[in-house]
Subunit: 594 residues, 2 copies
Amino acid sequence: MRTHYCGQVTETLIDQTVQVAGWVHRRRDHGGVIFIDLRDREGLVQVVVNPDAAENFSKAEKLRAECVLSITGKVIPRTEGTINPNMATGKIEIVAEKLDVLSMAEPIPFQLDEKNVGEETRLKYRYIDLRRDEMQNNLRLRYGITRAMRRYLDDNGFMDMETPILTKSTPEGARDYLVPSRTHPNKFFALPQSPQLFKQLLMMSGFDRYYQITRCFRDEDLRADRQPEFTQLDIETSFMSEEQVMQTMEGLTKTIFKEAIGYEFEGDFPRMTYAEAIEKYGIDRPDLRIDMQLVDIADLLQDIEFKVFAGPAKDPKGRVVALRVPGAGSMSRKEIDEYTKFVGIYGAKGLAYIKVNDMSAGIDGLQSPIIKFFPDQVMQIMERVGAQDGDIVFFGADSAKVVNDAIGALRVKLGEDLGMLEGRFKPVWVVDFPMFEEDEETARMVAIHHPFTQPKATTEEILNHDAPHQMLSRAYDLVINGLEVGGGSVRIHDSKMQAAVFKLLGISDEEAQDKFGFLLDALKYGCPPHAGMAFGLDRLVMILGDIPSIRDVIAFPKTQSAACPLTEAPGMVDNAQLQELLLRFRKPVRSADK
Amino acid sequence: MRTHYCGQVTETLIDQTVQVAGWVHRRRDHGGVIFIDLRDREGLVQVVVNPDAAENFSKAEKLRAECVLSITGKVIPRTEGTINPNMATGKIEIVAEKLDVLSMAEPIPFQLDEKNVGEETRLKYRYIDLRRDEMQNNLRLRYGITRAMRRYLDDNGFMDMETPILTKSTPEGARDYLVPSRTHPNKFFALPQSPQLFKQLLMMSGFDRYYQITRCFRDEDLRADRQPEFTQLDIETSFMSEEQVMQTMEGLTKTIFKEAIGYEFEGDFPRMTYAEAIEKYGIDRPDLRIDMQLVDIADLLQDIEFKVFAGPAKDPKGRVVALRVPGAGSMSRKEIDEYTKFVGIYGAKGLAYIKVNDMSAGIDGLQSPIIKFFPDQVMQIMERVGAQDGDIVFFGADSAKVVNDAIGALRVKLGEDLGMLEGRFKPVWVVDFPMFEEDEETARMVAIHHPFTQPKATTEEILNHDAPHQMLSRAYDLVINGLEVGGGSVRIHDSKMQAAVFKLLGISDEEAQDKFGFLLDALKYGCPPHAGMAFGLDRLVMILGDIPSIRDVIAFPKTQSAACPLTEAPGMVDNAQLQELLLRFRKPVRSADK
C-alpha cells in the first residue's frame, strides 16, 4: 500500500510518482488548496490536494486529524518561500493524484501536541499517546538498546535461553504474584522476581554463558520508578571471576551507549568500594557528576560542649560530616530553610551551615549561628573541607544512617538545583559490599545482595564469624549518574557454603530443604564456579533517554495502583472460574479502597 | 579460569600451555596413568595425569564423573595408535601440570549416556539431563533459531516491543491462568494466551512493524505437544496485504532454516486453499512429503444398494473417498486389522479395501470382500484413483468429518509406516480458510482463526449473510511436514465491521463493550489496515531438529500434569498470603486427584 515511508520522500524522488500511507497529522486549507501533513513511523510529508481533482478534494475536505490515508501522487519541489529546512522532507511536496481514506477518525480525545494531558487519559488512550514523537522515540530507543545488548552478547558467546514464568516462589524478599493451579488443588505457581536460581542451574547444566531479556514480577506497593512487571537483562557465566564479569559488562554498557545513542565513554569505568561510597557520598550509588563530598569531622568535635555535634561524634553508630558547596554562600535564609525541610524527610533534625565570606579574616570571615559552639575547631574544619570565599558549608550530625541519607540526598539536590552536574554520563563500579546487614525490624541478619552471593570468607569462617555484618561479599553494582543500572555477584558453588549462609541467615535446615532443596542438591553434582549480573532495562532506557518516568519507557505500563486504564485490567472473573480453582472470596478484612 | 574451551584445543596448540575447565566426562586408569575426558560446552578434550606428578595424581584418583576441574598443562600430540579422527581434539592430549578440583561431585543419579532414564527423573535432575549432548544441541538449535529470526526481522524494519504479561483475559477461547490482584480486591489479572490485541494496538499506535518472541499461557489439559507456557514469535504489520505478509514470513522461514541448520528451500512455497487441502488430504495441515491423496467417489456410489457407502454418498454432510496406497498390495490381514483399529480412533466404523492384483484382468484382478456391493462401479473407481498392480486401495465412507479425520490420519500413518516420506521439509501455505464454523456443542458460530480476523466480505454482507459458514477469511497458515508452524490473518480495522462480526458470533453489544470496548474505541480513532502472524517457537525447534517431544526443546518444561519436578512448583503458600489476596480455599467439590 506504499512505495515509501512518508518521512523518506525527499528531493531525490522529484518527478517520480510515489505511494505513501499514514495518519493526517495536520490539515490546512490555504488559498483554495488543501495541505495535509501525512505522518508515519518515519516522519511527516506534505501532501497537496488541488481543487481541480474534484473527487480527492471533496474527500480531503471531510478529513480530520488522525484519519488514515493512502496517497498516490507526484513528488514536486516546493516553491522557494515554502521550503522547510528543518524537515527531512521539507524541500518537496506530493501532489495527490489518488486519495483513499483507509480509516476515518472520530474527533480524538486529545491532540498529539497537547501539553499536560493527564496520565490516566494518556494511558486509557495509549494507542493515541504512543503516536506522539516523544513516545515513538522512547520505544525506539528501548528497541535500540535491546538490539545492541543482543548483538554484543551474541558476539561474545552468550546463549539466549528461556526460563519459566510459572514457577516456584523465589527468595528475593519481595511479595510474589501467585497463580492458582487448577490441576494441583490448593497449590500455586509464583511469577519470578528474577530467574536467579534457573540461571544458576543453567550454569550447572554446562551452558557456560547465558543471557535473557526477561520479565520479572514484584507485587509491591509501587514507588514512582517501579512497575509490577519489569524487564531485566539477565546474565550468568561459568569459570569467570568478578573481574572478568565486570569487564564483559562494561564492554556491554559501552556498546549499548554507543550503538543506541552514539555516546562514547572515555577510558575504564572507575571502581569504588562500598565503604568509600558511603564515606564520600553517603550512599552506595553515588552520582559522580557532582563534585562535592561528605567530609568526616567527628574526630574534631568529640570533646566540645555542644551535644548536637559531640553526641554523634562520640557514638560509634553516629556520624558528623561537613559538605562544602562551592560558590553558594549567597544562598538566602529562605532557601536554607527549604533545604532544612528537605533533609527532614530523611530524619535530620536540622541543617547547620557556615557561610564563608573571607577566609583570610579567619573566624571573623565566617558567618553562622553555630560558630560559637566550636570556635576552636571551626578553622580546622574549614581547612579540611577546603573552604573558599563565597562557599557555604552544611553540617550533618546524627546516627550514621540519618547523616548518610540526609546529607547524601542534600548533595544530589544541591548539585541539581545549582546546576553543578558535570559531564553527561558518569559511571562507577561499586564493589566490596557487606554480605549481610541486620534487618531493623526483626534484628535478624539478611543478605544484602541475595543468599546465593559468595561471601569473601570460607565456609568455616561463615559458620564461626562473630561479626557477620563485617563480612564482605563478592558482589558488584554498576552505577551511572547515581542510578543503579545493574548488580551482580560471584555465586556460591559449594553446597556446604550455601548451607552455612542459610544457617547464618537463621533459615532452618528444614526450611532450606523445603525452599531450596533442589539447589542444595544441584550443588552436589558438579557445579562450576559461576557469576552473573542483571541490568534493569527500564531504568537503563530512562538513563540513556533522560526520561524521568518509567511509564514513558514501557508501551503498556500499569498505574501506581497496578492497574491498566486501557484494558481495565485487573478485572472481574466468573464465579465458575474461581470454582474451578477451588477458591472463594474471603470477606475483606480491611477497607476496600486499599 | 581458562585460556580455551575444552573442545577447541586442537593440534594448532601443540607445545603450548593451556588452561581448560570443565566436567569429568570419563576417567580411565590405564597402564598406571589416569586419562580424563574433560567436557565443556564446546566438547571434550583428553587430559593425561602422570603418576610422577604425585599431587595431581592423588587428586585424580579420587575423581568421579561430573567433578568440575581446572587443568593447566601442555598440549602434546597423541601417539599414533591413540588418535581419534572423530573428535575435534582427537589428535592431541593435555598433560596436566596443575589440577584443581573446583567442585567434587557425589555419585550422580544417572549417567549421561544412560538410555531409558525416566522422564520424571530427567526433569527432577534437569541440570544433569541438560548436560547431555542431545539436550545441549536442542537448546543451541533453539537459540540459533531465535537469533536468525531476530536478525531477519531487525534487517527488515521490524521493532522488538514488549507487551504485558499481567493483563486482561483474552479471547482465544482456552482457559486463562489467573493472577489475583492484591491492590484491587476480588479482581484478577490473566496471563496472555497471545499478545493479539496489544499488537493490534501497537499498529494503531503507528509502530508499523512489530515483533516479539514472547511467552503465552494456556491452562488446558495438556496433550503430548502442549505446555502451559509456550513461546511464540509474534508479528504484526501495517499497510501490508496478506500477500506481502506471506512473502515476508516465507523469507523469514527460509532464513531460519538456512542459518540454523543450513537447509535451503527450493523456490517459492506452494499455496493451497483450505478446500483443496481438505479435499485431497482430509486435513488443513497436509504433510506433502507423502504422495497420496484422498479421491472423492461419492458421485459413483449414490445409487448402489450398499447403504454403508450409498448413505454417506447421498448425504450432503457425508463423504466417500478412496485412498490408493502404491505397492502395498501385499499387506497382511493382520496389518489391515491394525489400520482398521487405527481409523476407529477417529470414529470410522470400519476400513474397506481392495487389493489390486492385475488391472488387466479387470474386476477379476481385484481382491476384496466389498467388490460385490458395487461391481458396476469398481473399475471406474480403480481408474479414477490410478490403481496399478500391487496397490491396495482403502475406502472411507461416513460423515465428512469422520472420513477426513480417519482417512487423513491413515494417509499420514501409512506414509510413515511404509517409508513413503519424500524430501526433508515440505512447506505449504494454506489460504482461504472459512471465517466461521458451527460449534458442535452449542450450535453457535465461532471464529475459526479469531474474531479479529477480516472476513472476505463487507460489513453489510456480514450482517446479512444467510450462510456464514461459507464465508471465507483473510487468514493464512504455514504448514511444514504436516505441522502448523504458524498462522496469521489480515485483521479487521473498522469498528463497524468488528461489531458486525461480534454480532454474528452471538456476542451481545454489552458483552462486546465489556470485553473489547477498548478495541472498538481504538478502531474509531484512526486505525491502519494491518495484518500479522505468529510462529510457535517450540514446534519450530521440534521440526528443524526432528525432535519428537516438546519437553526436549525447553530448558525447564512442565510435566503433563503441569508441574515442575525440579522445583516442585506449584507449591503450597502461607495462609497469610491468601489472606492478603482476600481468598480462601473452597472445599474441593471434585476428586482431589483430578
